[in-house]
């Protein structure tokens, strides 16, 4: 790798480099910049999805559906007592009915309030609301755990339903996952565009220096000797562009991170990046540079092979 940069001056003059004068370092910088941003976005979504589902996966909700409010309260209390005695359960909370009404009110709209009803009384009073028991399990709520809970409650409350809480947020999680894959797909597309740009620029450079290449060939120069000259140039372009892209990309991520944590709310909070995500982000320019150099080498060697 280092040998790419230690080419004697007279060899370097063979193919004048005109470093930074061409668009190549800038194109690579922009590509790496976008790749860094897309990678960070993808990783942030991946982590957020993981955090949320981790938090929710060990939670479950028991719904007790019973028309008679007294019986309903009775059953809820019995069930809660029974659940508290189970080794599987870490925490049990019977939701007070106000809380349930609060949860439901947005679905019925503002007008569901008491004052709008000529007869008086709340619409909520007319709807048979279930009793809700919020459970935190000692481990993620899998099929087996849910079955155990159902078996425990069934004798106490016939109409009880046990649901894992992650079920409620599943659409959100799958949205986050889609966004994550879209971000990684973007990274792949950007990598392809970078490779294409390198191919175009390598071909242009080969064309510009066709005469010199011909002479070196006829003096007994090998393809490797010639491609080394071009690779060095592209390695330098990629190095400069990669660094620039990484610096700008990181700056923007940090800035956004600061703004997000200033917002300070639920899902947004979990948009942090762990140290290994930063490692991956740091690897993006290195992979980008490697991609550029490998592409350049393959392009140059391929083109040289067509010349006698």
């Amino acid at each position: 790798m280092l040998s790419l940069f230690v080419i004697p001056g007279h060899d370097r003059r063979l193919i004048p480099e005109g470093r930074l004068s061409g668009p190549m370092p800038w194109v690579i910088a922009i590509m790496i910049f976008l790749m860094v941003l897309a990678t960070a976005t993808g990783l942030a979504f991946a982590e957020a999805g993981r955090n949320v589902s981790d938090q929710l996966s060990s939670r479950a909700t028991v719904q007790i559906i019973q028309a008679n409010p007294d019986l309903k309260a009775q059953q809820a209390n019995d069930a809660a007592a029974r659940l508290r005695g189970m080794a599987l359960i870490e925490e049990v909370r019977v939701l007070p009915s106000e809380e349930i009404e609060e949860l439901i009110a947005p679905w019925l709209g503002q007008t569901a309030g008491i004052q709008d009803r000529p007869e008086g009384g709340s619409l909520l009073e007319d709807i048979p609301l279930p009793a809700l028991i919020d459970l935190k399990l000692v481990r993620p709520a899998g099929k087996k755990e849910l079955e155990a809970l159902r078996a425990a409650i069934k004798p106490l409350a016939e109409g009880a339903r046990v649901e894992p809480s992650s079920g409620l947020i599943a659409p959100v999680i799958s949205l986050v996952q889609s966004l994550q894959w879209i971000a990684f797909g973007l990274v792949a597309l950007l990598a392809m565009a970078t490779a294409a740009a390198v191919i175009i620029s390598a071909r242009a450079a080969l064309n510009t220096h066709k005469e010199t290449i011909g002479v070196i060939h006829l003096l007994g120069g090998t393809d490797r000797q010639i491609s080394r000259l071009f690779q060095r140039r592209i390695a330098l372009d990629a190095l400069l562009g990669g660094l620039l892209g990484l610096v700008c990309g990181t700056a923007i991520i940090l800035l956004l991170g600061m703004q997000l944590s200033a917002l300070g709310s639920g899902l947004v909070q979990s948009l942090g990046l762990s140290w290994y995500s930063w490692l991956i982000i740091g690897a993006v320019p290195i992979l980008g540079m490697t991609l550029a150099m490998v592409t350049a080498r393959m392009t140059v060697m391929g083109a040289l092979r067509k010349i006698l």
């Binding site: 007279h10 060899d11 063979l14 011909g214 002479v215 060939h217 003096l219 007994g220 120069g221 090998t222």
Partner: protein, 236 residues
């Protein structure tokens, strides 16, 4: 195996159309001096290109240093090309390199160390009368000066074959004689020389040189030298 170059029924055709060269059969012997003449467009450069491996023939057999040069793999070409020095008709100096670096190019391509090449390159520059133009770029040199750099580059590596395409076209008669002396000196050291030229005056300057003449794509052989090994040259 005594011959250094052997052509058998060689034909060369550029694209479609008639053959530029056809049915060339001849042998070149090591240590000899050959002139190649012929009208403009007769195919001298084309023949030399076959010789210095810039072009593969359309048909026929070419043996170079005892090996089949027609079917030779690409990977082996550089090794053979390093044994052949070429003065191109259009010089082909590298525009970004100084006269010194241009002349040093074959040595550097073959991996000669920097400390081992400064003296021979400087000596060569002196030989062609350009000792004070070592750092000049080709564009700032006259046509004749460029030609001398091209010649210096071709001979610096002491090639086994020297191929020179119209090497004295741009220099005055005195310089032409001086350059021929350079070729002769190299020839004395054992290099086989092939010089393509229009200049019939040149032919008389090298006693004992062989003559090849291209006419309408075919080769005529006025001195009969292409069928028999030449007699040792009279270097009186």
């Amino acid at each position: 195996m005594n011959e250094i170059v052997q052509f058998e029924n060689v034909g060369l055709r550029y694209g479609a159309g008639v053959e530029t060269l056809s049915d060339l059969s001849f042998t070149l012997y090591p240590g000899s001096f050959y002139f190649l003449t012929g009208a403009s467009g007769a195919g001298k450069t084309s023949l030399l290109k076959l010789l210095y491996l810039a072009q593969r023939p359309s048909r026929g057999l070419i043996r170079l240093f005892g090996e089949d040069a027609v079917t030779m793999s690409r990977e082996r070409l550089p090794g053979f090309r390093r044994r052949i020095g070429v003065v191109f008709q259009d010089f082909r100096l590298v525009p970004h390199l100084s006269a010194f670096d241009n002349i040093a190019l074959p040595l550097r391509v073959s991996g000669v160390k920097e400390k081992d090449l400064t003296t021979p390159v400087a000596e060569m520059l002196d030989w062609v009368g350009l000792g004070d133009r070592a750092e000049a770029r080709p564009a700032t040199l006259s046509g004749g000066e460029q030609q001398r750099v091209a010649i210096a580059r071709a001979v610096i590596g002491r090639p086994e074959i020297l191929v020179a395409d119209e090497p004295t076209g741009n220099v005055d008669p005195e310089m032409a004689v001086r350059l021929l002396q350079l070729f002769e000196a190299l020839n004395t050291l054992g290099t086989t020389i092939v010089v393509a030229t229009h200049d019939i005056h040149l032919l008389s300057k090298v006693p004992g040189a062989q003559m090849m003449k291209l006419e309408k794509g075919g080769l005529s052989d006025p001195t009969g030298s292409l069928r028999n090994p030449p007699l040792p040259r009279d270097r009186a």
